[in-house]
Symmetry: D3
Subunit: 334 residues, 6 copies
Amino acid sequence: MKKIITFGEVLMRLSPEGNKKFMQANLLEFYFGGTEVNVGISIANFGEKVKHISCVSNDFVGDTALSYIQKFGVSTSDIVRSPKPLGVYFLEVGAVMRPSSISYNRSHSSFSDITPKVVDWERILEKGKWIHWTGITPALSKGAYETLKAGLKIAKEKGISVSADPTYRNGLWKYGENAKDVLADLVGYSTIFIGGINEINEILETNYSYSNEDFIEASKKLMERFPSIEKVFDKIRTSINSSWHKIRARMWNGEEFRETVDFDITHIVDRIGTGDAFAAGLIYGLQKYDDFKSMEFASAACALKHTYEGDVNYAAVDEVNAILNGNISGRFNR
Amino acid sequence: MKKIITFGEVLMRLSPEGNKKFMQANLLEFYFGGTEVNVGISIANFGEKVKHISCVSNDFVGDTALSYIQKFGVSTSDIVRSPKPLGVYFLEVGAVMRPSSISYNRSHSSFSDITPKVVDWERILEKGKWIHWTGITPALSKGAYETLKAGLKIAKEKGISVSADPTYRNGLWKYGENAKDVLADLVGYSTIFIGGINEINEILETNYSYSNEDFIEASKKLMERFPSIEKVFDKIRTSINSSWHKIRARMWNGEEFRETVDFDITHIVDRIGTGDAFAAGLIYGLQKYDDFKSMEFASAACALKHTYEGDVNYAAVDEVNAILNGNISGRFNR
Amino acid sequence: MKKIITFGEVLMRLSPEGNKKFMQANLLEFYFGGTEVNVGISIANFGEKVKHISCVSNDFVGDTALSYIQKFGVSTSDIVRSPKPLGVYFLEVGAVMRPSSISYNRSHSSFSDITPKVVDWERILEKGKWIHWTGITPALSKGAYETLKAGLKIAKEKGISVSADPTYRNGLWKYGENAKDVLADLVGYSTIFIGGINEINEILETNYSYSNEDFIEASKKLMERFPSIEKVFDKIRTSINSSWHKIRARMWNGEEFRETVDFDITHIVDRIGTGDAFAAGLIYGLQKYDDFKSMEFASAACALKHTYEGDVNYAAVDEVNAILNGNISGRFNR
Amino acid sequence: MKKIITFGEVLMRLSPEGNKKFMQANLLEFYFGGTEVNVGISIANFGEKVKHISCVSNDFVGDTALSYIQKFGVSTSDIVRSPKPLGVYFLEVGAVMRPSSISYNRSHSSFSDITPKVVDWERILEKGKWIHWTGITPALSKGAYETLKAGLKIAKEKGISVSADPTYRNGLWKYGENAKDVLADLVGYSTIFIGGINEINEILETNYSYSNEDFIEASKKLMERFPSIEKVFDKIRTSINSSWHKIRARMWNGEEFRETVDFDITHIVDRIGTGDAFAAGLIYGLQKYDDFKSMEFASAACALKHTYEGDVNYAAVDEVNAILNGNISGRFNR
Amino acid sequence: MKKIITFGEVLMRLSPEGNKKFMQANLLEFYFGGTEVNVGISIANFGEKVKHISCVSNDFVGDTALSYIQKFGVSTSDIVRSPKPLGVYFLEVGAVMRPSSISYNRSHSSFSDITPKVVDWERILEKGKWIHWTGITPALSKGAYETLKAGLKIAKEKGISVSADPTYRNGLWKYGENAKDVLADLVGYSTIFIGGINEINEILETNYSYSNEDFIEASKKLMERFPSIEKVFDKIRTSINSSWHKIRARMWNGEEFRETVDFDITHIVDRIGTGDAFAAGLIYGLQKYDDFKSMEFASAACALKHTYEGDVNYAAVDEVNAILNGNISGRFNR
Amino acid sequence: MKKIITFGEVLMRLSPEGNKKFMQANLLEFYFGGTEVNVGISIANFGEKVKHISCVSNDFVGDTALSYIQKFGVSTSDIVRSPKPLGVYFLEVGAVMRPSSISYNRSHSSFSDITPKVVDWERILEKGKWIHWTGITPALSKGAYETLKAGLKIAKEKGISVSADPTYRNGLWKYGENAKDVLADLVGYSTIFIGGINEINEILETNYSYSNEDFIEASKKLMERFPSIEKVFDKIRTSINSSWHKIRARMWNGEEFRETVDFDITHIVDRIGTGDAFAAGLIYGLQKYDDFKSMEFASAACALKHTYEGDVNYAAVDEVNAILNGNISGRFNR
């Protein structure tokens, strides 16, 4: 079975239990995550073979990160090590009208040491069928950008699918490159665009509104500018407050516009990684289902992720499809 | 004061804290439960004298099960011991659209060792005024079925009330008897039927719908077939999702049909044992109140149980009646 | 910077985690609190200089109480010590239709030892700009009443603002004084009245209803009787159940009546101290904003407090104002 | 089977986990204990019928105390309730050269409300074969002293064995009676004296040294003064530091002096209640074994208690005897 | 790199934290273990490729067992699944003179379902260089015995090393075979014997003492009877009490007798799996070092295991060798 | 009261509970520490006024660090903030022959941003009577070195005592300066030298042995080279293993050599910060006692610190002196 490849930083997440603030706690729960590895693990939980590429610290924290990824059956054999520490983020979980707060310690982390030299893309992608990237990676360091670009080039040569989640986060991008140029450069190698109006406006320097009409227009413009892009998928979150959201999705695949109905997530357990669960659902779905069913599958996966603690989606394919079949009443699985 | 007798397996319940999956946890909360002992403990919490009959393991796990039951003042002096292990169930608690999952380890448990020889029903029921059974017990082993039947016979002779909660769970029933025949046999000894359309259809091999009209019709048919049955009570759960339910109840007592309004349980803490809380509320109520007030009391008890962690209902009579008196706004009891 | 002074008992709060009952637990979370120190800490979190006056036990529990208060930068240098134990309260947290229960162990606590002799109000208020009191303090002991009265007298002489939250709790008041007389006596020294119909009816021995018309009428009557009172603020809580409340506020400042819209608190984390957060918001606001904005700030602070575990409000001024600016969707602060 | 009766205060014990100080913790472990109920529970764990007499608070804390005692099968049916709070003690557990610290909150607890009127000794002792008291009880309040004395009188009339552990703790005794007089009064009703040189010197106002010779002399003097005393048992603790003790015992039974060898307790888990485990071992032993074997059993029980967390001894008779048979190497019981 | 193969049951271990008894706890720590998988994981931690063969439950408990094994990089791809539950054991951890207690729930577990048909030994051992078995496996079920025997036969044919740890546990062996015959049968396929006087006496039906002379004699006799055995290794534990042990080892390799000095384990953290750590150390060592150094490495690995919680040894090769180089003073690794 | 000033990095310490490895945990305990702030807090616990100077992150982690320090009454009003993250260290706690492991994430932390410009030493030292520094600070960054040097210069001018703990840790010192030169430079401003043979050999480039004779010789040489040094104190640790140490101290004060007896720390709770407790004991002692008593006080403080979890010493002066008075048997403080 050919593999799905993800590439990106692995971070340690540290947060007090429940809704406690750091000032109230003396214990922190920890998880490992990072947008791309979250996608990889979620896809592995759907039963696919997955390999994650990264650079982690050469200490017991890095060892623990690797064992965490292996636990899900994701291959870590091409993850390299660095004497720099693993990136860390601290999280205080909000509720109702209180937002969650995050503080990062990642700017000199082991991942920032990565360079094209230490990743043998040719060999890795030989056994690959899909590669996924996000806008976080090229924002972290020049080496990360170059390593990613090297991989995408080879993927393009090999005709491997490339999904792009070109999130733009302006607190990053400190090493000197221009975010728009870099993202545009990388989108040029991609076949599936996972993102909405914000990301398109960022890259095209346009001003589209959130309306469906504008979404279609924007997607068309994007596909004009980047002919490799075949489909655009957009996840839409409506927040009642920190504890209660609704999720739906829409798509333009060059031929038709479709949108899903809302999932009503009345009691959020953990919203981190829910976008990654959407991307993973899409990547899995597009290999099995038609575009609309893939998007439905991705939305249900995203909705389900809100019920799992930590960064990754534990749902199996059957569990996602049960939701799509209308089983949302929560009867016991015995 | 005469005692209420419950008879059935005591299980250890093991679940990660919060909504964690086993894969995420290294600690499990444990409780003891089992549908009949849950009923017994809940009735003891209403102030009645209760004795539970069972067979538990002859090790420190069984010791702990006994001490757990004694804690509520329920008599354990007729619980027998076996070298086989106590039954266990594992639980992953869902949220929103994620259902909870349960996995059992009970098929060769200490309870399956029980036989009529080791339970002195004559002496036990001498001091009894009510006995409660469920459809789980006769599903577990031939010995369990025979022991239960022996008890119900003597109860009938002594004119003791017999409440039946003839839940049919098709994952059980592996020892060779036909579920319908056995349940019908046992219902024939019972005076109060706690169950709905599903249970009646199962036993009568009918096809009634969930409508009130059909409920009345079905109840009448049931009482025709089993003349010992005096009243039928049915609890109806409407699930918005795993975290949000509504509960109401309806009854046919041979003379009149009544139904309660819905309780809106917006933030479920733990739904296990809520049906048992309903049964316990009924058994308690029918000794103090008229049928409708008993059913209201049972519904309020059931609703309250959703707010307690673990398998048993901790509510006292005053706390249940406070709900019925409209105090659902949650002001502090100081 | 001049200080805001709070005066009152510091209690240790002990409660099982989550919604557990004491019977289910073997661990208790502990916090320190008390209505006046909660107000003080919340104001300190808004960036003001605060000093709390109290009497705590002369053991490691009292040491811990002091270190807890210092953690927030609130001055403890005028807190005195007593060989009597610190007051304690036990809490079982309810959910949905189950109310929370509180049991106190405070009637012979260290705070009941306080007398006017051990508090040097003259020196303390020299650096003060505001003093806050509640109806709990004079209910606890004769010494507490006299000490409070001594402070208010000097505050009046010095022209320092005095806010009163004259909550009447009838389980207290055991030392012989008449609650109404005492509260009326102390309200006579106060400039800001934080309380509603219940408190006014209690003090004036009137029977006003909860309508806005009656609120205005009652406030006018109160200001007639106590000419020092300049403004009356009332927080109104609507409870759907123990887990879901709505909060709004109204005011009469002698000239105009205003009321805020409701905050919808769909998933309460901890409602203890939410009234104190309102008082703290008002005291802070009235020094910076106009009356209506102060009341809005106080309401938002109160709403936010429902999302923090423990007795005190951790919100900073910016976080409260973000709510007022409409940011209630719970996006991450990164 | 006739019962063993214990009488005394039930306290809630609160301590941070491990060796944490209160200043470092936000969680406290809780247990219930009290020297006499510890003795009662330990004897129940040896298989005897036990009834504890006390007065606990009429709230959920008192409910929890009762359910804790019932868990061990100890009868609570004659425990009375009071609106005063349950006594509490706070504990910081030391290690190596750091001593443990205890702070009490018991001086106005529910137990101090007890009076002879609320305890029906005549009925209770009708089914009793032994009553145990300690010097803590008469130190707490006049009512406690009088209630105890009333019980001992009736025990003497009925010829029931009375064991006395007349520990003198000088931080108590605040209600006005003279400790020596009261203890001497109560020892006069007792048959077994569990105590050493310190207690004898206290009561006889003598100055005996810790030598075996003096112990024999002192015991003789004690038995001269109190002819009801038949035997004196003394437990001797040698502390290397807070974490490492040695335990042995000696006795004078009017005829012979015996002493045991040391148990070496190299890694103490919890030393609270170890003296109570010794008393319980003696009371159990003296009904089954000769004096020396009883003392050995008591010493082994005491040594084993150091390995259990909390106030009570969980050891069964077989487990104690295994130690006496030399099984101290800690092989698994499978 | 060729693999080391281990074969045996995977159990879930459940124990209260610290030295608590089940009666005191409401949380249980869980680990997975089993003597053979413990050996496999420990060897993987030394850097070897390892594959474990077993049969686990087809539910989320079995999923979690697999993910636990994968975490260490041990291959689970040939582990089969069964609808029966995973075996469980309950543990209460003793201290000082209190022994630990274990209670098993394994007699109808998923592993008992294994048969030669479901394990493709030919393919699996093609890539194997060593296979390890223990006396637990053939004691569990006929299928387990036959599956093991089938594997050992093929291992013999392929000239793969076979290490035997033929522990005899008499609480098992319930399916009808004679333990001695079965163990002798399987030892006949083995090359390395890890066991001492007890095991040899059991198999040969002899009566050797624990002296070194008898150990040599017994080893010679064993090697006479089973010519495939090349070396005998024996680990000797001296228990001061449950918390303090000493460990040494001795060997007879057909040519020379050697023994190691004692490791003094003054504060045991967890002694479960320490024998497995010894076996793993030997298997690793015999591939790198001479016999004596292998035994020293194994002893140090065994000693180190006493400092890790759970069933498996986390020590890396460098950490074991550091001990052998005399670094036992516990300076920080920074 | 004049203040004692400490200057250095504040780190967050993260470690699994007990002896768990990161791979076994999903919760981490956290504390704040850092060698100099540990000294400051310990001195504050002795009752002195202390101010700590540092630079912490401008996020909720930094806020929490400040509140942690304030809890002990140490002034944080001159601690500056930086947008860089707070330094972190990860700890796995060993036992017996397993050493503890530490991994740092501090090389680009907020403290590395400190420069002489942001610390107003003139004002701060105006109210100071003592300043303490260690060899960690100048190893971290050029700015840290220069800031420290600026402070020591002004201290010298003002005649304030300067204690130096010039620990050399070779994993640090990455910014380009030569450790020996820098340490020698700073020792030149110091009056009390807290360090042993290793530190002296490092600075003087000598080769003294650990003998008392060499210690005296080395101290003399040190005082020759740095005439400002008045006294040299050396703490000597003898490790039996990770769990069991002995501690003693020796001194040369220019006139006499003295050494203390060993403290036997049989069950270490936490050894981090024990050297800091020694330094704090010395600094406190030298203001109250003669040199030898100061060293004894410091040794007892150091020994006691081994019994507290976390980085700081909680012992009060009375508790330290109790040890010196021979109270090491661990009787309860009631």
